[in-house]
């Protein structure tokens, strides 16, 4: 690399967490600066904008829990995606797997005679299996016929979308909703408890954190985790070392789909308490979870941070709309800028800047 004065930029064989965090924070700051210019162009002083955003998201005790609402599904689905990505299985289907989870949970809540105390555990369990099942078909296609999983998992999303749409307008349409496209409200035992005074359905949050820790343990401390990592880094070497690609891929995909399914259960049992239009059930969480997982850079525990960060972005968007009267698309612009800078800074992670004293 060409030296710049006393600085020397060179490829760094090692990646350090400190630098990853430093560069990411720098990228996000740059995004904030550019977003500030957009606010200013819209006629809102950037200083005021950021003050209002911070005040109304982090500075208000009643608003803080709202950050966790989108963070919970992002955490669950994101941890699952991290597992899949580590095995180099590009699961773009978290949205569909999440919706499969909502369908299973709704079925348990409304159409099975599950006794009250068992209701929520059974909903989560069937939600997990439904999500896993939704991920099974693409993984089988990949393993048996080598069909590109990016396409199949993505397509499965639209099937899930149509399935939910058909259920709520057709067979599952509730008699109590006067013909609108919703199911009936879940019975009380199917409602997740919320932290007092908020809508944070804490069991989902707890589940997310515990599963993130378990996933980290699985990846770093178990034989299966080792196999997943090896297969992700070099499938040929993995096969040579005796790793069964069928087994690891299937397992990873079942876990990934299952976790997205759990996120879906959390949404219907914690927020909506019924099944409704698929675009209202999940606000694109399955897609945003891809970014969340990607930003966590393969570390399941880091998903806790990245999911919360995106929760903050969602809730800043809400604040921008209400308190600053900006159009709703501003949230997308904001998200887009942050991603643009984060992905743009990706290259920087592989380089280091070194101080080289002048030598003649």
């Amino acid at each position: 690399m060409r030296p710049f004065g006393l600085l020397r930029i060179e490829r760094d064989p090692e990646q350090s967490w400190a630098r990853t965090i430093f560069v990411s924070v720098l990228a996000i700051t740059a995004a904030f600066l550019v977003a500030g210019v957009i606010f200013w162009g819209y006629g809102v002083s950037p200083l005021r904008a950021y003050r209002v955003i911070i005040q109304d998201t982090l500075g208000d005790p009643r608003a803080v829990p709202e950050i966790l609402l989108p963070a919970m599904p992002l955490l669950l689905a994101g941890v699952g995606l991290v597992l899949a990505f580590r095995a180099q299985f590009y699961n773009i289907g978290a949205e569909g797997q999440l919706l499969a989870g909502t369908v299973a949970a709704t079925w348990v809540a409304l159409f099975t005679p599950t006794p009250g105390p068992l209701m929520l555990p059974v909903m989560f369990l069937t939600g997990f299996f439904a999500g896993a099942l939704w991920g099974l078909l693409p993984s089988l296609l990949k393993l048996r016929l080598n069909v590109n999983e990016v396409i199949t998992t993505l397509m499965m999303n639209y099937i899930a979308l149509s399935l939910v749409s058909w259920l709520v307008t057709g067979p599952w349409k509730g008699p109590s909703v006067r013909g609108f496209a919703y199911t009936d409200t879940f019975p009380d035992p199917a409602w997740l408890p919320a932290l007092a005074g908020t809508r944070v359905h804490w069991p989902t949050l707890l589940l997310g954190i515990v599963l993130a820790a378990l996933a980290a343990f699985l990846l770093n401390r178990t034989r299966l985790g080792f196999e997943i990592r090896v297969q992700g880094q070099n499938p040929d070497a993995a096969r040579y070392a005796g790793v069964n690609p069928l087994r690891t891929t299937l397992l990873v995909m079942l876990l990934s789909g299952g976790l997205a399914g759990l996120a879906g259960v959390g949404e219907v049992a914690g927020i909506h308490h019924k099944l409704l239009d698929p675009n209202q059930v999940s606000l694109g969480y399955g897609y945003v979870a891809i970014i969340v997982a990607w930003l966590a850079r393969g570390n399941p525990l880091a998903v806790i941070v990245t999911a919360t960060f995106f929760g903050l972005i969602y809730s800043s968007g809400d604040v921008m709309q209400v308190s600053l009267q900006m159009p709703f698309r501003v949230t997308d612009v904001f998200n887009g800028l942050i991603l643009f800078f984060l992905i743009g800074s990706e290259r920087l992670l592989q380089y280091r800047v070194r101080w080289v004293p002048w030598k003649s």
Partner: protein, 386 residues
Amino acid sequence: MRWIKLFVIVTAMLLVATTGWAQQSKLKIGFIYVGPIGDFGWTNAHDVGRKQLEKAFPGQLETFYVESVPEGNVEPFIDKMVRGGAKVVFTTSFGFMDGTIAAAKRYPDVIFAHASGFKRASNSATYMADFYQIYYLNGLMAGALSKTNRIAYVGAFPIPEVKRHLDAFALGARAVNPKLTIHVRWLFSWFDPAKAKEATEALLAEGADTYAFTEDSPTVIQVAAKKNRLSFSHYSPMQRFAPKHVISGQLVHWERIYIDFVGKVLKGTYTTQNLQNVDYWWLLAEKAVELGGQPGQAINPLFTGRLKAAKVKTSEFGTISVYDLVNRRLAQMSKNPVAFDPFTGPIRDRKGVLRVPAGKTMTVQELTTMEWAAPGIVGQWPGEPK
């Protein structure tokens, strides 16, 4: 020098920031929308209503809004509005119903009003401006102008509101031309121009020549006009998208309801204690809805001649032109109480089941829950009663 400049700029910005923050003591009114204000339908119409409301009470109130609010998220938005000082909150989508009622419990000193729902509380009213009378009038015109004896309806969702409009449209059309059939396609979306285009093309292929629809874009009008087919504008003034092909349509005036409601709040007639039974169901007579594809023009003059030439036999007026019939029905329905209602018995559904007995008119409760399909309707009908 540069530092001084920077200092001045920063101080100025801080000053602007702090003074802009000052609170005012006007009545603050929040609006929560389900779609973007830039759509061509529902949300845009509510936003037009909001602006008219501001104009009607200059200096007395201040309004603010959020658009594209997801149904599961209405509560946090209401929280933010109330924290921002809102004393009246309008929520404008059926999906906001439970959230609105929950918020009404949480904020007993804030007044709420929810569009299109049926749950109320002492501080939460409901309101709706409905089109079924106008769809009947549109149907009369479609019946006179269709040459293929096939007309079409592109519906958003198969829910009672849309079914009611479709049935009224079909009843009107068959009142003029009993041989006519009404072909239906569902979009399962309120706003989806791509699907609307597809549906319209399918209906064009089936030979339908006159189009009505429920979708928040002018797509159906544009696609039909390309094939030289006629259509009715929906919700906002869409005649301008095909001035030679739009016969008439439905226009809404939410401001009529907003101005009335807020006026009563300002006067103290409506309080947080007495809204349990306040339900606006406003139609032609209240001027909450209007016949036409652009304001002030009930029928596109290009079609006046053909509508005058089409004669129809009625038991009430004898043989008259469809043009006159539309105007007489319009006049009858613009009175309060109305002298005519499209859903007056005897009416059988398309399966032959008697739905409205002779001499009876459907109640608001029956209208808002109706699921049956009127005779002449062809196509899928999810949730059709047996």
